[in-house]
């Protein structure tokens, strides 16, 4: 008789056999158990997928006649996640070793529990990186000899079952290759579970046996293993298998519901009222204009720069313009500068050298520069009363116009401090009359967060009214 008459022949890639595993390795049993589980559940073979990484156990995907991907080292779970997202009807399983899933791809294993997709992870734990000659890995027992720890492993191994339960996998079980019937049961339950499933399968490795002078790990598993119906905390916390190995299902929970944390407020959608401002574009006559807005981070300097450039674009779409922002790593409290250039010609250099219009929300930038205020001799300065030291603004020729206004105070008393930049914009709009009022309002509406349009527009109007006095 030929191998093609084998009862598993439908699911085996006969042309790739005999397989590469060592004599006495029991990884092939896991493959047989997987075939039995699929046959028991009666899944369509076209709907089953096996993804694997690199390692001895990852060859299982190669020997199964199922669609599959042999992914890069440690990236079996992200690849499986991609398969699942592309076609949610597929039954996706991941076959990998302990070095692949827990060592190199450890973070993906944690993230899978968090994401909660229906992927079955079968981790074949043989206590080290055996394909390359047995280097020590994350699950190598304390004191075990490997190539890289010839005097005994000094590191405490991680506990895969405890990690899986902490990560949020909804099905967690442990089995060994010496108990294939139990393994079939675990695999069937794992595939039935609707969330991420994790099954740890202990495998006897010949290299581990030889280096540590163990006669037979398989006999050790059969002797120490104890199949249990209910699991206690001691069974989860088993990190050395000197006394007994608890086999069984540690957790079989339904798929986790997604709760919204009370820390996160529900996003406030628009109140339903639609704001709209009509504006008329016209030729502005600006040839070259440099505007600088400076202040402290948190006052809305960058936002003010965006409002300015949007307003200028509303006013005259033919203008060329740039916006450059300079700020430190801190979100609030550091110096912050927004440079806006408006020009009728192409702009070669995006930074402001000598500003024609300087908007000072605070004097922090000027003081950091050494107290010197740079301004064009025909320029305009608008300064916030409460934040700027006016001794800096004394020594100017008379052609420089200096306006002082309490933008922060108006905003604090009538609205909130965050709209101080719009109060200043209203004042600038009235005093300079470079850009039309409605163009400004449309620009503010464009960048205002939903629900705050009314406050921002009212702040602009307050600044505009203050400019009339």
């Amino acid at each position: 008789m030929r191998i093609s008459e084998h009862p598993y022949a439908d699911l085996l890639r006969i042309e790739m056999m005999p397989n590469i595993w060592c004599s006495g390795c029991r990884i092939g049993r896991v493959k047989n158990a997987f075939i039995e589980a699929i046959e028991h559940l009666g899944h369509d073979h076209d709907r089953c997928t096996v993804v694997s990484g690199i390692g001895c156990s990852s060859r299982i995907a190669g020997y199964l006649r199922l669609d599959g991907i042999h992914a890069t080292h440690g990236r079996a779970i992200p690849t499986a996640l991609g398969v699942k997202l592309a076609n949610p009807k597929l039954k996706v399983s991941v076959m990998g070793g302990d070095g692949d899933i827990l060592g190199i791809g450890g973070n993906h294993f944690l993230a899978l529990g968090r994401h909660g997709y229906d992927i079955n992870v079968f981790c074949l734990n043989n206590f080290g990186y055996s394909m390359t000659g047995f280097q020590h890995g994350p699950t190598t027992p304390l004191g075990a000899r490997t190539i890289t720890t010839s005097a005994g492993n000094p590191y405490v191994p991680i506990n895969p079952v405890a990690v899986a339960m902490a990560a949020g996998h909804t099905f967690v079980a442990r089995s060994t290759s010496s108990h294939p019937y139990h393994l079939i049961d675990c695999m069937i339950s794992a595939m039935k579970n609707a969330g991420p499933s994790f099954v740890e399968v202990l495998i006897p490795c010949m290299l581990f046996e030889r280096r540590n002078k163990i006669k037979s790990l398989e006999a050790l598993f059969v002797e120490k293993a104890k199949i249990k119906e209910t699991m206690s905390v001691e069974d989860i916390n088993q990190d050395d298998f000197t006394k007994e190995i608890s086999l069984g299902v540690f957790r079989n929970a339904p798929k986790r519901e997604k709760h919204r944390l009370s820390l996160v407020k529900a996003a406030k959608k628009g109140t339903g009222k639609q704001y709209h401002v009509d504006f008329q574009s016209m030729t502005s006559g600006i040839k070259h204009m440099q505007i600088r807005m400076e202040g402290t981070g948190g006052q809305g300097i960058v936002q003010g720069g965006k409002t300015l450039i949007n307003a200028a674009m509303n006013m005259d779409p033919k203008l060329n313009s740039t916006l450059t922002k300079k700020y430190g790593p801190e979100m609030k409290g550091g110096s912050c500068v927004a440079d806006v250039l408006l020009s009728s010609q192409a702009i070669d250099y995006p930074f402001v050298e000598v500003p024609d219009l300087l908007l000072m929300m605070s004097d922090l930038v000027t003081k950091e520069r050494g107290g010197e205020v740079i301004i064009n001799k025909n320029g305009t300065i608008v300064a916030d009363e409460s934040m700027v030291d006016f001794s800096l603004l004394d020594n100017f020729p008379e052609t420089v116009k200096v306006f002082k206004m309490p933008a922060t105070r108006i905003a604090r008393e009538n609205f909130r401090v965050v709209v101080a930049n719009n109060v200043l914009m209203g004042f600038v709009c009235k005093k300079t009359s470079v850009i039309d009022k409605n163009c400004f309002k449309a620009a503010i509406l464009k960048s205002a967060p939903p629900g705050t349009e009314e406050m921002n527009l009212a702040a602009f109007d307050a600044g505009y009214e203050f400019g009339k006095t």
Binding site: H6, L12, P18, C22, S23, G28, A33
Partner: protein, 105 residues
């Protein structure tokens, strides 16, 4: 303490049949020897035994020594990592009372 329990009390032994299987061994796939003797060790009916003739890769595959005793439990087929052994059901036979008695050796 040998206690004779007659199975006739529980079911009609005359009509009781068990399946008969045929064991197929693909000698070229087998990696048996000192490291692996699962099929020989785990067979409940002791159908298999170690061969003395090695295959082309130097391993010693099992041979069938008790033809017709296989009951198609499928244990060797599930336990074999290399898929080198499998069983097919070929027929059924009636069992005798001494075969199925609990104290039967």
């Amino acid at each position: 303490m040998s206690q004779e329990v007659s199975p006739i009390r529980y079911w009609n032994i005359e009509q009781c049949t068990i399946p008969v299987g045929r064991v197929t061994i693909i000698a070229g796939f087998c990696k048996g020897g000192e490291d692996c003797d699962d099929c020989i060790r785990l067979c409940p009916e002791k159908v298999l035994e170690r061969s003395t003739v090695s295959n082309e890769r130097g391993y010693l595959p099992p041979v069938v020594v008790a033809e017709g005793k296989c009951t198609v439990c499928g244990r060797c087929q599930l336990y074999c990592s290399e898929n080198a052994i499998f069983v097919h059901k070929v027929g059924e036979r009636a069992v005798h009372a001494h075969e199925i008695a609990l104290t039967a050796k």
